[in-house]
Symmetry: C2
Subunit: 184 residues, 2 copies
DNA sequence: GTCGTTCTTGAACGGCGAGCAAGACCGCAG
DNA sequence: CTGCGGTCTTGCTCGCCGTTCAAGAACGAC
């Protein structure tokens, strides 16, 4: 029905809260960022946040969704490049969310919502990897190598491995994956 | 000097606190375990914990040290087995500390002490891997493959991959590492 | 017995995530 | 213009958190 709808501001205020939270989460980390500070950044009382989001985790997920959507869109730029370049690009790209990766893993055990988000993320990654391989690959082998690749990339990010060390790792991962499609 | 030293109880009480904290950290997670609960479990006032440990992170590190020492001792059992079996054993062994792995990574950014502990851990792991390879290996290549192996194992743990999926991943990792020493 | 060290504690601090009830704001129906 | 009901905001409050501090109890050395 929506008998009483304000012109716009609901979505806008929500977006503003997400923007402030995103900035703080990335800059200071999830735990170090209090709901109060997010509220203050959006010029709002602390409780107001809880009208837009069920809890702090929901706010976190909104930020993750925004970041992930951006990454997925940006991925189009390199979708045609070599696998090694794609992996290396991904590592560089995800470096900005370094702290958040560890937070997601820590909160997966505690928040079902974040666990669901995390599962979706990895499913997407696996699908992208499978789609990038030329020709059909034995599903079992693909699962193994896809696991190795995504976990390794995750490790490169969370451990903040510098570019010059990450590059050869990405090359090795790509070589590994490509050798699946051309057995020999 | 030590002009006034009680018979033993200092180390004992400390050990008791570590034991209680270990139980709770493993069972409920780091964040969900309050210092008060640890104190209560050791029949002590909450502040007493701060006489034995500088802060909650120091208590955490004490627990990590204990767990790691046990794992290292237990490793002797499988040090002679194949690399694949070693990796698989490690995954199973570390499964009990699943939640703590994510916590360590999350707190590395915030606690220098935990960052130092984490660095030491990975250095040890790399050394063990290098020691397990037969014959000399090109250092650059070894670093790459060692990185892939340890990050993958870490991923298998944090993502709670079941045994039947982890096994072939371990096999693939071991095969990869062994092919380094026997080029061809 | 007294002194200094080793422990333990009660009380307090600021801040946290969150819940609740009151109310302000607003568009619409009468 | 008035009142109603949904939309949004807030002040207040709760219980808990990690941590600090000063006071004091227990104890060994002299």
């Amino acid at each position: 029905m929506a008998r009483n709808r304000r012109p716009q501001p609901k979505a806008e205020k929500r977006a503003e809260l997400v923007a402030v939270a995103r900035e703080l989460f990335l800059e200071e980390g999830y735990e170090a960022t209090s709901v109060s500070r997010v509220a203050k950044g959006a010029s709002v009382a602390p409780n107001t946040v809880y009208w837009y989001f069920e809890d702090k985790d929901a706010l976190f997920i909104a930020v993750l969704d925004e970041l992930f959507a951006e990454d997925l869109a940006a991925y189009a730029e390199v979708a045609g490049a070599s696998l090694a370049e794609q992996a290396f690009w991904l590592v560089g790209r995800l470096r900005r969310v370094r702290g958040l990766v560890a937070t997601v893993h820590a909160r997966v055990r505690v928040s079902p919502a974040i666990a669901a988000w995390h599962d979706r993320l990895h499913a997407t990654i696996d699908a992208v990897i499978a789609h990038q391989l030329p020709g059909p690959v034995d599903p079992g082998v693909l699962a193994v190598e896809s696991t190795i690749a995504s976990f390794t990339v995750e490790g490169l990010i969370t451990h903040d491995v510098p570019d010059d060390e990450a590059r050869p790792v990405c090359d090795a991962l790509a070589a590994r994956l490509l050798s699946l499609a051309r057995p020999g």
